[in-house]
Structures are given as structure tokens and as C-alpha cells.
């Protein structure tokens, strides 16, 4: 109980800290949602804490709004439907903002109110009841849908909710929200959408009718219409459960659960456990089903067919569900085939809407900073020493010319403020370029060698591994909360001398950096203690001075690799943090965890700069785009989202995985993304077009690591099935058919050529592969713990 309250307060604290620039509406909305969910699960006295807040109203309102928009769209033509959709966004957001403001005001967080209002561009008096009315009316008028009339914001919101919901239930809902003091407002609002009464025994009949109908339609439509089965099944089942028809629900489940696609098995299992109305409260899966509309893409012809059928049959029950809980994305053109549909489906909330992937993404790389080259001599010398003097020159030019040309797809250099290069960074860049000239060109005929780092005696406790870019250090996160760092070069790890000793050294000397190190502490590995739970994510900073680790204890910690001590513990997630990663330019880092949000941090801020919310389940992995302007997150909801660091918006949603995603990798040119999941498949995505472009089948267990070679020719994947596999990435991307039609509709034809693309499979004895890394010369390093 105490812990619960604590958590709620911490959310409030997060709210309090809204002083970061540009909070996106969704963030706040999400935070409120979380708070509400927490409240719903807790006991009465906590609930009152939150329940009195209008936050709940904002939430409910949001839903109602969605519902209305949708109920309008299916009937009309698709273009108008989408118009309304876009138009409706403004008032919806605004209302949410109002709710947030209201919430803040009630908690006397006037400063935050100010900031938020300024950021959102709301007029000064927007919280004043009357002004609010006018503002609301104004926005409502613009949208042409929302009618706002109430005086107080909260009652205003409830009015909207009430009017849009089914007639019979409106009064009860209204009291819930207006009263605000009653038990469980938000969750029950969510749930009450299920309270339509229909004859429970008829559900089976309805479903069977529809099934029969779909089975008899033309082949070309069948696959498309079959998509309806799963969401319909789920919602009908939940309706039955909600209305306390337990036995009917069970019978319904048993009868039709077998018909569902096999990749929904996990969800069905969760669903099967849920047989009571009480269980629905606080059940995350359920909230997901309800709060996020299941998105289906259906061609116009198929949709008309379905609609006509349902209207003829007067099958209102199903029609209502389709209108209220599904979002049908109608497109003109040929219906899709079964394989096309299967490739894209599988996520918790259906496919991504096509609009979701239309935003322009600047996937190009940033221009490399020009480094004045005093290195030329050194370089030459170094080369000469190794007896390969000639090789460097042509390469050098190519590198130089590449960096001069501005990629049209690249973001502007200062779109995201990046840290300035330090001298040491420049030195490292020079090293990097030197190494790059010695890089092996990989290809199908020239496979990389794989060096495997096995962690011995880890007793099943190795949970995360990372290597520095120059492959000199390897770090492991362990289940016993420790973080260990090894040096894999002969150079040992040394701490900085103590303050007293530092005073003694000559600061003017040239080798001062060497002198500050304490020789006595030299050792091959160091252990760092600080976390209080298993360490699930670990990441080196590009300059090798810091190490990040994220843990079950809800914190992300920043460690200094000079003193081997913890510098900062970034708190905010409160729940296990599954992954964290430094930006390729340092300074920023991203973390994601069980609380379903990813956070962007800067090392010198103890609060996040951005909160990316939108995933419907745990965020399992996070990756920075090579240009540092975007962040990709993979989640247990089986989607991958790409977020714009600048705006905090979600700019891409990729669906198609059939299991939680556990690994992500950007291609070095920034154009493509590879993702691996528990289903053992690697999917390849074209970021610019927002399309799936490839599927690599072969692994038999969760893929925990993916990495492109330095030039992007080879994709390496490492898995729980104890294998490292190499794939021909060049070929996979070359074969792309990116004609306009595909790009426009997002219908992909995947060829099943995994076997051709697979270049090699290397089995370890009994070591799951949990990390892969290409050295600067394209040697593949793999790591994992021996698991006897």
C-alpha cells in the first residue's frame, strides 16, 4: 500500500517536473493513465487521491472521442473518414491538455501550469471556466464535431463522453465522471463500453454467422475479412465476461479460440485466464485491447461486402463492436493476399495505420566533422610501421568526399544539439579512420571471422553485455546486480589516483593523463556495485569514459570508467528498465522499461528530456539511429516504433513480429532497421518508406542480438538457440522493389529467400549469444555466458 502511494506520488512528481521543453500531449496523457491504472489496482483510499482528479475525465473523454470519430468514418468514404480523423486530433489533444492543466492546477502546481500552457500555446485564461468554454467551443467548431457547452471543464468533458456513448449507459457513466468521487472512474469507463446488453447466448450464433459468411465469400476477400475474427473474438469474449456471463464466455472461448491465428496464442492464453469481471479491473492486457483500437487494413470491396452482410442480417452486436473497438483502414485497390496480411499482422493492436508511417524521416547520416589532419604524418608513420604504406590514400579520399556531400535525407547538422568534439574525441576519430582503412571488405565470398567471448562461471547470471566501439572493453551486467568491466586488450584497467595524490602530480607535464592513473589499481577487470536488482541493459559511452546500466530496480546508473564509481542514478521509470543505450554522439541516452515508456535523457540532467509513450506493453529494447535524431524502441506489444528526438513524436510504427522484440539494429547508412524477436525471425525495415522489406527465418529461439557489419554488407544475428548466423544484407536490400505502388499502399510482397540470404551458421557448444559487435576492421565479436 505504501509502495503504491509512493508510486502515484512519483508520477505526480514527474508531472511536477514538466519543466523540460515541449512536453507532448501524449506524455501527460500517459502519465495520467498510469496513475489511474495504479489507482484502480490499489485500495480505496488511494483511489480517492486520484479519482477526484479530472485526469480520469480526460482519459475517458479521449476514448469517447475516438469512438465517435470512428463511428463516423466507416460509413463514409475513406477520404472523408481520414479527413475527420486528422481534424479531430486538435480538439482531442486540446481537451487532454485541459485535463492536464486542470489536474496541475488542483495540485497547486502553478509553475508547471504556466510552462505547459506556454508550450501548448493556450491562451492565458484557458483554465478560466468561461474562457475555457469559448476556447473549447472554438476548437470544437473548427473540427465540426465536438459540441462543448458546459461551464466547468470537467463537466464539459463528461458531457462529451456522455453524449457520444451508447444511450442506455450514458447516465451511469455521467455520474461516474461528474461525481468524480465514486470508485474506479477510469477503468470502469473503459470497461463500461462493454456493458451493452445483448443476449449472451446469441453471441455464439452471431460469431458463427459471420464465420460462415466469411468462409463463403470469394477467395480474394476471405483473407482480408478473416482479420476481423481475432479482434471480434476478443471483444465479444470480454463483453461476455464483463456482463457476468461466465459460463457463456467460457463456452464461447472454447468454441472459437481454436480458429484464431497461431501467433495470437500468447494473448489468448492470458485471455483464457480472465473469467471474471473483477479480473478485468487492473488488467493491462485488457486495457490495451480497449484503449487502443485494433487497426485493420481492408480493401474497399471487402469492407463493403462485410458491411452489407452485417446490415442485411441486422447483426447490430457485431456491427457495434466493429464500430466502437476497431479501426478499419480502408484502401482502394486489390485486396491483399493471405501472406501479405500475415506478414504485417501479429501485433497487440493490429497493423499500423497507414498515416502513422507517412511522416518524413531524415534517415541520412550527419556530416562527419572535418578534422584538421595533423594525423597525416602519424598516419603515414603508423602505416609504414606495419608495412602497408600505399593502401590508405584512395580510401582516405573516398571518406573525405563522402563527408563533404550533404545527404538530402540527412537532418540538418544542428537539428539536435550535439556535444562538441573534445580533443580526445578527435584523436579517437583519427584512430577510427586509420582502422577503417584496414577494414576487410565483407561479402558472401568473404565472411568475417567470429571471435567468441565466453563468460565462464556466470551461473546463468549474465543478463547484458556491451563492447566499446573500439572493442577494447567489454562490460557485463549480471543478475546479482553487479556490473563488471573487462579489458580485452593487454592494457589494464586503472583508477584515477585519489585527490591527495592528484595534488602531487605535475599538471603541466605532457603525460598528465597518464600520471593521474594509479598503477596500483591496475587489473584486468573491475566490479561495480550499486544496483539492487538484475542489470538488464548496459551501454558504453562513445568516448569510453562512462558506462550506463539499467536494472530491475528502476534506475539507470551512470558509471565513470575513470574512477569505477557510480556518478548518477537516473530515477523515473519506477519499474524494471529493460534496456538503455547511449547516443552515438554521447551525451544523450535512451531507456525503456516495464512502464511502457521510453525516456530520453541527457547525462547532465537528472530528469528526462523526452518521454516517448505509445507502446502498449513493456519496452524491451531501445536503439539510437546513427544520426542521433531518432530512437527506435521494440516492445512486448510486438511493434517497433521510431521516435523523433526533436519533437517526441512517433514517426514510424512497424508491425509484423509475432513475439516480443528483443533486438534492434540500424544499418550503418541509417536507411534500414533490423529487428529480432522471440519468434526467431529477423525482420528488415525500410525506414524512409516505412515498409517491411525482408524476413530472415532460421533461428529457432529468441534473437538477443543483431549487428550490421561496418559497411553494412553483412547482418549478424545471435540467438538463444546458441547460434550466430550471418545474412547477406546487401542482397536483402538490393532485391527491394520499391515502386510507387508498394510505397503508397504499404503492401509488400516478401519472397521467402531466407535460405539464400543465410551465409553461415555457427553453433556454440552451449552458449546463448547475447551480444554481437563488429570491430572497426570488421571482425565479428560475439559474447554470451556458457550455460552448462
Amino acid at each position: 500500500m505504501i509502495a503504491l502511494t509512493g508510486k502515484n506520488q512519483s508520477y505526480v512528481l514527474v508531472l511536477y517536473g514538466l519543466c523540460f521543453p515541449l512536453i507532448h500531449v501524449a506524455h501527460a496523457q500517459f502519465i495520467l493513465k498510469m496513475a489511474a491504472v495504479q489507482g484502480g489496482m490499489g485500495d480505496a483510499d488511494i483511489k480517492t487521491d486520484i479519482k477526484t482528479e479530472p485526469s480520469a475525465d480526460g482519459f475517458g473523454n479521449n476514448n469517447a472521442n475516438d469512438g465517435r470519430v470512428l463511428s463516423a468514418s466507416p460509413g463514409s468514404s475513406s477520404s472523408t473518414g481520414s479527413n475527420k480523423q486528422t481534424a479531430a486530433v486538435t480538439p482531442e489533444d486540446q481537451q487532454t491538455l485541459l485535463a492536464v492543466l486542470q489536474f496541475l492546477k488542483k495540485n497547486k502546481l502553478s509553475e508547471s501550469v504556466e510552462i505547459l500552457r506556454r508550450e501548448a500555446g493556450l491562451p492565458e485564461n484557458s483554465l478560466d471556466p468561461k474562457a475555457n468554454e469559448s476556447a473549447g467551443a472554438g476548437s470544437g467548431g473548427a473540427a465540426g464535431i465536438v459540441d462543448l457547452e458546459g461551464g466547468d471543464a470537467s463537466s464539459l468533458l463528461s458531457r462529451v463522453t456522455g453524449s457520444s456513448s451508447a444511450g442506455a449507459q450514458a447516465p451511469t457513466k455521467g455520474t461516474f465522471i461528474c461525481g468524480g468521487k465514486k470508485d474506479q472512474p477510469d477503468v470502469s469507463v473503459v470497461l463500461s463500453a462493454y456493458s451493452q446488453q445483448g443476449d449472451p447466448t446469441l453471441y455464439k450464433v452471431y460469431y458463427r454467422d459471420l464465420k460462415k459468411f466469411i468462409e463463403t465469400v470469394l477467395d480474394c476477400h476471405r483473407a482480408e475479412l478473416s482479420q476481423v475474427f481475432y479482434p471480434l473474438f476478443v471483444h465479444m469474449y470480454l463483453e461476455l465476461v464483463y456482463n457476468n456471463h461466465e459460463s457463456e464466455a467460457k463456452a464461447f472461448f472454447e468454441k472459437f479460440s481454436g480458429d484464431q491465428e497461431c501467433y495470437y496464442e500468447e494473448d489468448l492464453r492470458i485471455l483464457s485466464g480472465l473469467t471474471k469481471k473483477e479480473h478485468m479491473r487492473g488488467n493491462e492486457t485488457l486495457l490495451d485491447f480497449r484503449t487502443s483500437k485494433f487497426v485493420l487494413r481492408i480493401s474497399r470491396d471487402s469492407y463493403q461486402l462485410l458491411k452489407r452482410h452485417l446490415q442485411e442480417r441486422q447483426n447490430n452486436q457485431i456491427w457495434n463492436i466493429i464500430q466502437e473497438h476497431l479501426y478499419i483502414d480502408i484502401f482502394d485497390g486489390m485486396p491483399r493476399s493471405k501472406s501479405q496480411i500475415d506478414a504485417m499482422s501479429g501485433s497487440l493492436a493490429g497493423e499500423a495505420k497507414r498515416e502513422a508511417n507517412k511522416t518524413k524521416v531524415y534517415y541520412g547520416l550527419l556530416k562527419e566533422p572535418e578534422i584538421e589532419l595533423p594525423l597525416d604524418d602519424e598516419d603515414e608513420e603508423a602505416e609504414n610501421e606495419e608495412g602497408k604504406p600505399k593502401k590508405k590514400k584512395p580510401k582516405k579520399d573516398s571518406v573525405g568526399s563522402k563527408s563533404k556531400k550533404q545527404d538530402p535525407n540527412a537532418p540538418s547538422q544542428n537539428r539536435i544539439p550535439l556535444p562538441e568534439l573534445k580533443d580526445s574525441d578527435k584523436l579517437d576519430k583519427i584512430m577510427y579512420m586509420k582502422e577503417a582503412t584496414k577494414r576487410i571488405r565483407l561479402g558472401p565470398d568473404n565472411l568475417p571471422s567470429v571471435c567468441f567471448y565466453t563468460f565462464l562461471n556466470a551461473y546463468q547470471g549474465l543478463t547484458a553485455v556491451d563492447l566499446t566501439d573500439d572493442s577494447s572493453l567489454i562490460a557485463g551486467g549480471f543478475a546479482d546486480s553487479t556490473v563488471r568491466v573487462w579489458s580485452v586488450t593487454p592494457k589494464k584497467l586503472r583508477k584515477v589516483k585519489s585527490a591527495a595524490d592528484l595534488n602531487l602530480i605535475d599538471k603541466e607535464s605532457d603525460d598528465v593523463l597518464e600520471r593521474i592513473m594509479d598503477e596500483k589499481t591496475a587489473s584486468e577487470s573491475k566490479i561495480m556495485y550499486g544496483h539492487s536488482g538484475p542489470v538488464y541493459g548496459i551501454s558504453f559511452s562513445p568516448d569510453r569514459n562512462y558506462l550506463l546500466s539499467s536494472s530491475e530496480d528502476g534506475t539507470v546508473r551512470l558509471w565513470s570508467l575513470l574512477t569505477f564509481t557510480c556518478l548518477v542514478a537516473y530515477k523515473g521509470h519506477n519499474y524494471p528498465v529493460w534496456d538503455t543505450q547511449f547516443s552515438p554522439y554521447g551525451y544523450y541516452f535512451v531507456s525503456g522499461g516495464h512502464d511502457r515508456v521510453a525516456r530520453l535523457w541527457a547525462t547532465d540532467h537528472y530528469q528526462p528530456l523526452r518521454i516517448f509513450s505509445g507502446h502498449l506493453a513493456d519496452i524491451t529494447c531501445t536503439r539510437f539511429h546513427p544520426n542521433s535524431n531518432y530512437v527506435a524502441t521494440g516492445s512486448s506489444d510486438r511493434t517497433i516504433r521510431l521516435w523523433d528526438v526533436l519533437s517526441g513524436n512517433c514517426v514510424r510504427i512497424f508491425t509484423g513480429h509475432k513475439g516480443p522484440i528483443h533486438s534492434l539494429a540500424f544499418s550503418p547508412n541509417g536507411k534500414f532497421l533490423a529487428s529480432g524477436a522471440t519468434d526467431g525471425r529477423v525482420l528488415l525495415w525500410d525506414i524512409g518508406h516505412g515498409l517491411m522489406v525482408g524476413e530472415l527465418k532460421g533461428h529457432t529461439d529468441t534473437i538477443y542480438s543483431l549487428r550490421f557489419s561496418r559497411d553494412g554488407e553483412i547482418l549478424a544475428s545471435g540467438s538463444m538457440d546458441n547460434t550466430v548466423r550471418l545474412w547477406d544484407a546487401m542482397k536483402a536490400f538490393d532485391d527491394l522493389e520499391t515502386d510507387d505502388f508498394t510505397a503508397a499502399t504499404g503492401h509488400i510482397h516478401l519472397q521467402d529467400n531466407s535460405q539464400e540470404l543465410l551465409l553461415g551458421t555457427y553453433t556454440t557448444k552451449s552458449t546463448p549469444v547475447i551480444h554481437l559487435h563488429f570491430t572497426r576492421r570488421n571482425l565479428l565479436l560475439a559474447a554470451g555466458a556458457f550455460n552448462p
Binding site: 567468441f452 565462464l456 557485463g476 543478475a479 573487462w486 538484475p534 524494471p576 553461415g760 556458457f786 552448462p788
Partner: protein, 695 residues
């Protein structure tokens, strides 16, 4: 309205321990905490198994039985819990447990493990704001036991009483090794080097497929993951990968080039196997039995054995024959090897050791019988493993044995071998082939025993055959014939052997009854593979008088070879210990080497957990009859307990001077259980009878 949180201790899948379930009813907000050591397991086991089943079947909602609720309520003094409350509680609890299990799985995935541990469940509880249970570390095994009675069935966790002084006196366990990092080449430019750190190039399945279906063309696209592919990928890549599709792949010619390391290894191993140092031999055999990379050397080993037997049979070198048979045994025990392709060399060698007329220089004193027994057991094992409808090994072997047994001119030694070979094939063979001939055989034995003394050798032979027949037939007859056992009846049925058979059968019956009780108690127990060998005993029947069993503590300080850390390079079982023990066996004291390896499941190579009824033969050295150690509680159980294996091998005794200088070794084995902590050891005083199978 009753809500309940279930707090159960993590004992899903592999965790175990104490469980606490507390359920609170909203009415009075009283927390009833139940420490239900026994009861919780039933529900959890039930749920877990049910959920596992659920995977395969459709999704049916599995709910804890209401009896569990009742039982738990009773255990905290809540008497009459109403049926409705039970139902409500069980549904609620099942739901919560499932929820927690689902969350726990998340932690398992992120922990990059395949096994759910107790800490995962603790973490899942933490997510739900339930205080986790502290103080329970995950163990590898759940020693659940099952009991039923009074219409109730229970899974419970048996808590053994621990003698504190034992704990105090045992030396501290070694500190676990620290995490360390080791690098090796997984692949060099696309080729996987054959080094110990990498898995063997061909898995057993592949070997099997290759030998059983040599003509099966591996179609591209159908190839399973695995190293064959990796290899082919590596070799074919230079020719261009894309063209491979569509080509029919020919069966790859297997080359058997051995690397220098392999050649060295082969030399070392073969030398150690037939050399004079028993410790080295044990190590070598251990290596053969466990190392996963011997596939390429198999043809060499096979030839070595078959040639070795050919030569040594002629020279009557008993010791070497024993060593070679032990090598066969080790090869068969290796879970990564599939011997089918080499049976044409191995079977003749083994059969030779069973039926050869003479195996040693002095047939009257040397215990070649043990070798025959051991080889017969090997034969039976290979029949079981490799006999198929196409190669008909079993029927061919049976025919061979029967034919020479039926021959009147066959010598006693061969006769013994034939019978042993047949008897080991199982009770069906005994029933159909041996028992009908008991009368005839009896007459023959009688002729030797009671007739004019022909030769001492014949007499010894006849004695052995007699005891062999009695041993094997008694248990079978005990099952066949209804009680009571009438001596006269037996005499009419089985002739000369009848009366002796009768007494043996009666003994077998009482033993079976004894075992039945034990079986009743323990069959369903999942044992923890804790090496609890504490009693060992050696008797030298050559020296005088029975000796009382001496209890030998197993001091770990005597470890000759330290258990290897579980490195990938040394995949042998982690806890191998060779312990030298001295027994006070009078003047002719024998030294013994005990090696016990606990093969923990999940251990690298021993996944197959070969049923270790490992009975290494006991061959006598020249003079000394045998050390015989037999487990007291064993018969039917040994096979079901694959986790332990004790082999007791005695070192050359200082006193035993033998003609064969190298072979004064008395290998004996006990296959034992440690179910009840200690072990009963029975000493057989019958001279000459070297080993007795528990059957």
C-alpha cells in the same frame, strides 16, 4: 466479496521451496498467512503441469482444485470453509498465480535464460507490489515427493533431518569460481575450426541419420540448422552461394583426417586405456565416455578395439580384453556418438569376449567369467540401442548364441558365454529359450558334478553355468510360476537344477516383496543428484573370513583430480572426483578408486542422461576373487534414476602378484541409489561370482 493475493514461492518449473499463501477477505481485512509447506506444491505443480498441457491442447482455463483451498484453510485452523468460498478462492488464486507466472516469464526472457527461477517470481511479485519472499535461493532440483492416501493426493517437499555434526565435520565447499572471460574462434573466415571450444562437427542425430539413411539427399531449404550446414556453407561459399539452390547435393564424402591434436589425443587415450596405470585409464575412459568431439576418431577406435581383441584372444591376455571391453562401454556411453556404422567391427569383438573358448592363460583360476558377463551386458545394450528391422542384430545374435549352446560339443566356457549373452537380452529371451532347456542343461551339469572327475576346468565351468542359470532364471520363474514353490514340483519340471532353483525363487520372491515396499515409497520421487555415497566396502574373498563393512567417509581432500570448471573447452562432467580409499581388508589390502560423477541435467553433453546402470565388469586378477558391491535397494529402481553413477575400481593390490603384470586390477561397480541418504551394501560371499546383476 473475497479477494486474495496469492503469494507462492517460486517453484515453477525448476525452482522449489517453501510456499506461503496468504489470502485475505475484504470483510475483516485479516491476513491469514499460511505456511503451507506441503500444500502449496500441489496447486503449483498442478497449475504448472496444467499450463504446460494447455500449450499443447486448446486453451482451457485451468483452476486449482477446491480441495487444495480446503486443505490450506484447514492447515490454518479455518475449519468448515464453504464450498462457494472455496470455488471463489481457487479461481481468484489461480488467476493471480497465472498473472504472476506471466510476469515472471518476462524476467526470464530478459535474464536470457530458458529456465524460470525463483528470483524471476520474486521480481514479478515486486512488480505487483507484493513483497517477495526473501531467503529462498533457486536450486536446480525440486525434490517433490508424492503421496496419496485417504483419497487425497499430495505433492510435498520432504525435509530431511540433518545431523549437525555431519555438517560441521564436512569441510567447507569450495568457493565458486569467479566469472571470467575466455575468447575463442567460433569461425575463421566462414569456417568453424574444430577446436574443443566448438561443438563437434556432427551431432548424434546427424550421425544416426547418416548411418541409417545414407542415401537420403539433403535438399536445400530442408536442411536443419546445425553444423553440417555451417560446414557446407563454408565450403560452398567460394563457388557462389546462390547457385546452390536447385543442385542436388551429393552425400558428402566423409574424410577422416585427424588433426595433430586429435592424433595426439588418440595416442594418449589408447595408451592409457591399455596401459598399466589405472588412474590414467579411468581418466581416459571418462574422456571417451563424455567428450563430444570424438566423432572423427571413431573409426580409429573401432579398429583399435577389434584388432586388439583379435590379437589378445589368441594370446589369452585377459586384462587387455577387459580394458578393450571397457573402451567399448565408454564409447557406447558417450551421448554424442552413434556407433551404428562401426558395429561390424565392434560386435564380433564383443561376441568373441563372450563366447571364446579360452580368454585367459589359466582358465581354472582366472576370472574370465566376469569378462563374459560384462561383454554379454554390452551386447545386450547394443542390441537394445541399434537393433532395427533391417539389421536384425538381436535375432542374429540370439541365433548365434543358441546355435552354439545347443551344440553338444561346446565347451563349458562357451556355453557359459552363450547363456550369459542370451540371459542379458531380457526376461522374454530367458523365458522362451533358456527355461525350456533347464532340464537338459541340468543333466549335463549333473554329469560333470557328480560323474567321474574329468577335469577341474570342466567342473569349474559347470559350477559357473549352474550359478548363472540359477541367477537369471530365478527371478523370471518367480514371475512365471504361481506360489507356492514346491521342491518336488520343481524337480520334475527342471530336473537336476530344480531344488536349487526352488530356493532361489523363494529368495527372489522375498526380495521382490521387500523392494515393492520401497518402490511404493519412492517411485515418484524426483531425486536430487546429491552424491551421498558414504559407505563402501571391499571384501577380498581370497582372504579369510567375512569382514564387517567398514564405513568410509569420502574426504574431498583426497581428490586426485580437481573437478574441472565448466568451461566449454572441458565439457566433461563438472564434478568428477577420483578418490582413493583404503580399506582395511586384512593383509591383502586393496586400494580402490572411486569415481563418481554426478551428471547434472542440463550438463552440456549429458542431456541424454543415459540410464546409468553402469556396471563395469569385475574381472578378477589372477588370484583374487572379487570385490563385490551391490546396492541393497536397487533392482527396478536403478534404471529410473539416471543421475548417479558410482564406479568402484580397485587399484592393484600390493599383495596380489599375478602373471599378467599389468592386469591385477579389480574393477567392480556399484550402481547405486542414494534415495534414502545412505546405501545398503550387500556383500556377496560367493567365491568366484564376480558380479551379480540385481535382476
Amino acid at each position: 466479496e473475497i479477494s486474495s493475493h496469492s503469494r507462492f514461492d517460486p517453484c515453477h518449473l525448476n525452482g522449489s521451496h517453501d510456499g506461503i499463501l496468504c489470502f485475505s477477505s475484504k470483510c475483516d481485512l485479516d491476513f491469514v498467512c499460511v505456511s503451507t509447506r506441503g500444500y502449496i506444491y500441489r496447486p503449483v505443480c498442478f497449475l504448472v503441469s496444467a499450463m504446460a498441457e494447455e500449450r499443447r491442447q486448446k486453451h482451457c482455463s485451468v483452476v486449482l482444485p477446491t480441495e487444495s483451498m480446503k486443505a490450506m484453510a484447514e492447515s490454518v485452523g479455518v475449519g468448515q470453509l464453504q464450498e462457494d468460498s472455496c470455488v471463489a478462492l481457487s479461481e481468484e488464486v489461480s488467476y493471480r498465480i497465472k498473472e504472476i507466472a506471466q510476469d515472471a516469464l518476462k524476467f526470464m526472457h530478459h535474464g536470457k535464460r530458458r529456465k524460470l527461477t525463483t528470483s524471476d517470481i520474486d521480481n514479478a511479485l515486486k512488480l505487483k507490489n507484493v513483497e517477495p519472499l526473501y531467503g529462498f535461493q533457486s536450486q536446480e532440483f525440486i525434490p517433490f515427493r508424492f503421496a496419496s492416501g485417504g483419497g487425497r493426493e499430495l505433492h510435498f517437499y520432504e525435509e530431511k533431518e540433518v545431523d549437525l555434526s555431519d555438517i560441521i565435520n564436512t569441510p567447507l565447499p569450495r568457493v565458486p569460481l569467479d566469472v571470467s572471460l575466455k575468447a575463442h574462434w567460433l569461425s575463421i573466415e566462414g569456417m568453424q575450426p574444430a577446436i574443443p571450444e566448438n561443438p563437434p562437427p556432427a551431432t548424434k542425430e546427424q550421425q544416426k541419420a547418416e548411418s541409417t539413411e545414407p542415401l537420403k539427399v539433403v535438399k536445400p531449404g530442408q536442411e536443419e540448422e546445425g553444423t553440417i550446414q555451417g560446414k557446407s556453407q563454408g565450403t560452398t561459399t567460394p563457388d557462389g552461394k546462390g547457385k546452390e539452390k536447385g543442385l542436388i547435393r551429393l552425400k558428402p564424402r566423409s574424410t577422416h583426417e585427424l588433426s595433430v591434436e586429435q592424433q595426439l589425443y588418440y595416442k594418449e587415450i589408447t595408451e592409457a586405456c591399455v596401459g598399466s596405470c589405472e588412474a590414467k585409464r579411468a581418466e581416459a575412459l571418462q574422456s571417451i565416455a563424455t567428450d563430444p568431439g570424438l566423432y572423427q576418431m571413431l573409426p580409429r577406435f573401432s579398429t583399435f578395439i577389434s584388432e586388439g581383441v583379435r590379437v589378445n584372444v589368441v594370446q589369452n591376455n585377459l586384462a587387455l580384453l577387459i580394458y578393450l571391453m571397457r573402451m567399448v562401454k565408454a564409447l557406447m556411453d558417450n551421448p554424442t556418438l552413434y556407433l551404428e556404422k562401426y558395429l561390424h567391427e565392434l560386435i564380433p569383438a564383443v561376441v568373441t569376449c563372450i563366447v571364446s573358448k579360452q580368454l585367459c592363460l589359466r582358465p581354472d583360476v582366472d576370472n574370465h567369467w566376469a569378462l563374459r558377463d560384462f561383454a554379454a551386458r554390452l551386447m545386450a545394450q547394443s542390441c537394445k540401442t541399434f537393433s532395427t528391422t533391417t539389421n536384425n542384430i538381436q535375432s542374429r545374435i540370439t541365433k548365434t548364441f543358441t546355435k552354439s549352446w545347443l551344440d553338444d560339443k561346446t565347451q563349458w566356457t562357451t556355453r557359459y558365454g552363450c547363456i550369459a549373452g542370451l540371459a542379458e537380452l531380457g526376461s522374454d529371451v530367458i523365458k522362451t529359450l533358456i527355461i525350456p532347456r533347464l532340464a537338459v542343461e541340468g543333466a549335463r551339469i549333473k554329469a560333470v558334478m557328480e560323474g567321474p572327475v574329468v577335469s577341474n576346468i570342466d567342473k569349474i565351468g559347470a559350477e559357473h553355468v549352474q550359478s548363472l542359470l540359477l541367477k537369471h532364471c530365478a527371478s523370471v520363474i518367480a514371475k512365471l510360476r504361481p506360489q507356492p514353490d514346491n521342491v518336488d514340483q520343481y524337480r520334475t519340471d527342471y530336473g537336476y537344477l530344480g531344488p536349487m532353483l526352488c530356493s532361489h525363487v523363494m529368495k527372489a520372491r522375498t526380495q521382490a516383496a521387500l523392494q515393492a515396499q520401497q518402490v511404493n515409497r519412492t517411485t515418484l520421487t524426483i531425486t536430487q543428484p546429491r552424491p551421498t555415497l558414504s559407505v563402501s566396502q571391499s571384501g577380498l574373498s581370497g582372504s579369510s573370513g567375512p569382514r564387517t563393512p567398514s564405513i568410509i567417509k569420502v574426504p574431498s581432500s583426497l581428490t586426485l583430480m580437481s573437478p574441472r570448471p565448466g568451461t566449454p573447452s572441458q565439457p566433461s562432467p563438472p564434478a568428477t572426483k577420483y578418490i582413493v580409499m583404503a580399506t582395511s581388508a586384512g593383509a591383502a589390502s586393496t586400494q580402490q578408486v572411486i569415481l563418481f560423477f554426478t551428471t547434472t541435467p542440463g550438463n552440456l553433453s549429458s542431456q541424454s542422461a543415459s540410464p546409468v546402470t553402469s556396471t563395469v565388469p569385475s574381472a578378477t586378477s589372477t588370484l583374487q576373487p572379487l570385490v563385490k558391491l551391490e546396492s541393497g535397494s536397487g533392482a527396478g529402481l536403478t534404471a529410473s534414476r539416471p543421475l548417479q553413477k558410482y564406479i568402484v575400481v580397485s587399484l592393484p593390490s600390493s599383495a596380489s602378484s599375478s602373471l599378467e603384470t599389468k592386469s591385477s586390477v579389480l574393477p567392480t561397480s556399484i550402481s547405486s541409489s542414494s534415495l534414502d541418504g545412505g546405501m545398503k551394501l550387500e556383500r556377496s560371499e560367493s567365491p568366484g561370482a564376480s558380479t551379480q546383476s540385481p535382476h
